[in-house]
């Protein structure tokens, strides 16, 4: 007859065996004196261990009330959301990218089909409507327009008119799309945690990190992103009723830096940028190419840049040296235009 191995006796005494295993062991024990002795030895060893470990106990204390922990957890959850948001902006510099976003289909809705099928670059006329964004509440931190580096002469002479952000100005183009022609990007989403949805609208408040598919559903399939770069995060701030959501798509360059493309109602984007600029006084791109961006007024020299079309705005931020970012923008512009 097989005797019970030592580890099985441990498991038996620790109640780590199934009922049928226990029955088997018990029936053997009833008839086997040596296994009984083994069991008693192991039981003693077990008690001895427990007694030894019991010496290693901290002084007894009174646990903090659970309510206190609950409050701490609430604070941490909201702080985490805030951190996600802050992380998007810390050490970023902000620059504008036109990259095909002002394509003719915006002014000419019929053109969207052409763009969607890989139509050529935006016309100068469309680009001419790029405008300096002015937010009366944060005048010193106003995102200004820098024209993309790769411009043709027509566009270089295009006057840029300062304009108020008028949300209703181009209601019919508020469903503006970033080209959706591009193949779905390689998805490389970071772990997604979706806090409960909320209708609250507050710039530094309720951001949701979403899956690519979820964000697409929210945005109606229109998400700003740069083709060819892996997407690491999609953040969405739900709009108020009838308002388009504010989207931030983070993508990683091969060099490891993360760039973010922001698209949404112009006022929200510019506020977002303004907020960012205020907390980051590092002179940004606007000083790099002052000749090209000459109409940028001096008080905006340390401002940021964005691209506005109607009541929509798109911007790119990245923790890159200004010249690298400009180079990247140039490249992206070229890429987007060639699509």
């Amino acid at each position: 007859m097989r005797h019970i191995p030592e580890d099985e006796l441990h498991a038996y005494l620790d109640q780590g065996l199934s009922r049928s295993q226990c029955v088997e062991i018990e029936s053997h024990l009833a008839a086997c004196a040596s296994c009984q002795a083994a069991r008693d030895g192991i039981a003693a060893l077990r008690d001895r261990t427990t007694a030894l470990l019991a010496r290693l106990a901290p002084p007894r204390s009174f646990p903090t009330p659970f309510e206190t922990l609950r409050r701490r957890a609430d604070i941490e959850v909201s702080a985490r959301r805030r951190r996600i948001h802050l992380a998007a902006w810390v050490a970023s510099i902000v620059a504008a990218v036109a990259f095909g976003w002002t394509a003719s289909h915006l002014t000419n809705p019929a053109g969207s089909a052409r763009v969607a099928s890989g139509a050529p670059a935006p016309t100068p006329a469309a680009v001419s409507r790029q405008a300096v964004v002015k937010d009366s509440r944060t005048p010193t931190a106003t995102p200004a327009i820098l024209r993309p580096m790769r411009t043709d002469s027509t566009r270089a002479r295009t006057p840029r008119r300062p304009t108020r952000v008028a949300r209703r100005a181009t209601a019919e183009t508020s469903t503006v799309s970033i080209p959706t022609v591009m193949a779905a990007p390689e998805l490389e989403l970071s772990s997604v945690e979706i806090p409960p949805p909320t209708g609250e609208f507050e710039l530094d408040g309720m951001w949701r990190t979403m899956s690519w598919v979820g964000a697409q559903a929210e945005a109606g399939e229109k998400l700003p992103y740069i083709d060819g770069l892996p997407i690491v995060q999609v953040q969405v701030q739900a709009g108020e009723q009838g308002k388009q959501p504010l989207m931030v798509v983070a993508q990683q360059l091969s060099s490891g830096e993360v760039i973010r493309t922001i698209e949404g109602p112009a006022q929200d984007v510019s506020q977002l940028l303004a907020r960012r600029t205020m907390s980051d006084p590092v002179p940004t791109v606007s000083s790099v190419d002052s000749s090209r961006s000459s109409p940028v007024s001096p008080e905006r020299i340390d401002g940021s840049m964005a691209m506005q079309r109607g009541d929509r705005m798109i911007a790119i931020t990245g923790a890159l040296p200004p010249d690298s970012l400009l180079a990247m923008i140039r490249r992206l512009n070229a890429e987007m235009r060639s699509k």
Binding site: T49, L53, F66
Partner: protein
């Protein structure tokens, strides 16, 4: 409102503190970490909270040990930790407060391999075989084997240091 986590907190907080204390050897720190564990549980709402709580506690303790090693916070390394795994030894002044009996168990515990020690501590914290298996990646069937070895080694190591009182029964 009473929820599952609150009940878990009432029933296992002490066990979590003890589990952590046996890793960081600092009662106050162990309590801080235990609270952190439950705060995280509240924020994450894990599916299997009991196992989750101990898994997070183990991680926090590990981070703590690494940080302690990094800071070289007056470490009094217990002699002959058989594997080069960093063990957070009691700070010198804390040791004084502990009596010999405590120190001898501490030292005996430090002679176990990290895995044996972990499983023994998890068992002692009240986790079941399946929970221990789930947390350590061990097969359920191997938990008994590991515990058998860990117990034997702990008692042997302890008795080696205290040959006079080695053989007679446990002080409880």
């Amino acid at each position: 409102m009473t929820d599952e986590l609150e009940q878990l907190y009432q029933t296992t907080y002490t066990a979590v503190v003890r589990f952590l204390y046996r890793k960081v050897w600092d009662a106050e720190r162990a309590e801080d970490l235990a609270q952190e564990v439950f705060v995280r549980a509240l924020a994450h709402r894990p599916e299997k909270p009991r196992a989750w709580v101990f898994a997070v506690a183990a991680n926090l303790a590990r981070d703590e040990a690494r940080a302690a090693v990094r800071r070289k916070r007056h470490l009094t390394l217990l002699k002959a930790d058989p594997v080069a795994q960093p063990t957070v030894a009691p700070a010198a002044d804390t040791l004084v407060e502990h009596d010999e009996r405590v120190a001898s168990v501490q030292e005996a515990l430090s002679t176990l391999t990290p895995r044996d020690r972990e499983i023994l501590l998890l068992w002692d914290a009240g986790l079941s075989y399946p929970e221990i298996a789930g947390q350590t990646g061990l097969a359920v069937g191997a938990v008994g084997t590991t515990l058998a070895r860990a117990r034997r080694r702990l008692v042997e190591a302890h008795d080696r240091q205290n040959p006079s009182k080695g053989t007679h029964a446990a002080h409880s």
